[in-house]
């Protein structure tokens, strides 16, 4: 196998990606970057699923299929909300998205 690492190394990769995602979500620079951060957190969870699946049974890999599909949908809905907010207000400020009702 090309990648030779134990489970702690893969978990370290997953936790590191999760930490970067949490930083991006909390620092809240812009909405697009917050979406990047959410995708990073989801990918960290996917790595956890996959690494335990590679050692135990195949269910984690199948669950990752579902997670990837739902993450794509989440990106579609999130970007739809962002575009509507931009059409309505002319700029997208993360702390003002509570004003989306019309």
């Amino acid at each position: 196998m090309l990648l030779e690492a134990d489970i702690h190394a893969y978990l370290f990769l997953s936790f590191s990606l999760f930490a970067v995602g949490v930083y991006g979500l909390l620092s809240r620079k812009s909405v697009i970057r917050m979406l990047f951060a959410v995708e990073m957190i989801i990918n960290a969870a996917n790595i956890n699923f996959v690494i335990f699946s590679a050692q135990r049974n195949v269910d984690g890999e199948i669950f990752t299929f579902f997670t990837i599909g739902l993450a794509a949908l989440e990106a579609a809905v999130g970007l739809a909300i962002v575009i509507v907010f931009y059409k309505r207000f002319g700029e997208v400020i993360p702390s003002k998205i509570k004003n989306l009702r019309w």
């Binding site: 196998m1 090309l2 990648l3 690492a5 134990d6 489970i7 702690h8 190394a9 370290f12 936790f15 590191s16 990606l17 930490a19 970067v20 995602g21 949490v22 930083y23 991006g24 979500l25 909390l26 620092s27 809240r28 620079k29 812009s30 909405v31 697009i32 970057r33 979406l35 990047f36 995708e39 990073m40 996917n46 790595i47 996959v50 690494i51 590679a54 050692q55 195949v58 890999e61 199948i62 299929f65 579902f66 990837i68 599909g69 739902l70 993450a71 794509a72 949908l73 990106a75 579609a76 809905v77 970007l79 739809a80 909300i81 575009i83 509507v84 931009y86 997208v92 400020i93 993360p94």
Partner: protein, 160 residues
């Protein structure tokens, strides 16, 4: 926490591209870095002998989601950017989460078992036998979410 040189190269590229995706000045370069991040995660899947999952990661994430994000960037750009220098709490919290996660990972006595290789036939068999009903439910969820996205975009503002 042992790994060969390829693993640590992939680790470095993943974390560096994740940070660049959040911190790059140009949003277009941030999107390019995001594609690199997702492709490297697909490489992890390929390295674990999961080619179907790696292909789906490349097709849906590095392909579909990134194209969506690029369209959004072309339509609205980065219309607001919070001034830098106020992210200390976020950095501290994320470092605490990282340390807690690593400590729990080592303290929980998870053993490294030998890695298994699942054939595509076995994967498909388990998928159909155990998760076919869930797939049907998921199809309705997908349709509902896409309908909601369409309704959000096309709804006109009602007169007060």
């Amino acid at each position: 926490m042992a790994g060969n040189i390829y693993f640590w190269i992939i680790y470095a590229v993943v974390i560096a591209s994740a940070i660049i995706a959040l911190e790059a000045t140009s949003l277009l370069w941030a999107a390019v870095s995001f594609v690199v991040l997702l492709s490297e995660i697909a490489l992890v899947y390929f390295g674990l002998n999961m080619p179907i999952l790696g292909g789906i990661q490349l097709a849906i994430y590095a392909g579909g989601v990134t194209i969506l994000v690029l369209f959004a960037i072309m339509m609205i750009g980065e219309s607001y950017r919070k001034p830098p220098g106020k992210a200390v709490k976020a950095i501290v919290l994320s470092l605490i989460l990282l340390v807690v996660g690593v400590v729990i990972s080592f303290a929980s006595a998870i053993d490294t078992l030998p890695f298994k290789t699942y054939s595509t036939e076995y994967l498909g068999t388990v998928f159909v036998e155990r998760y076919s009903f869930f797939t049907i439910v998921l199809g309705f969820i997908v349709a509902a979410i896409l309908y909601m996205a369409n309704a959000i975009i096309t709804k006109k503002r009602e007169a007060k």
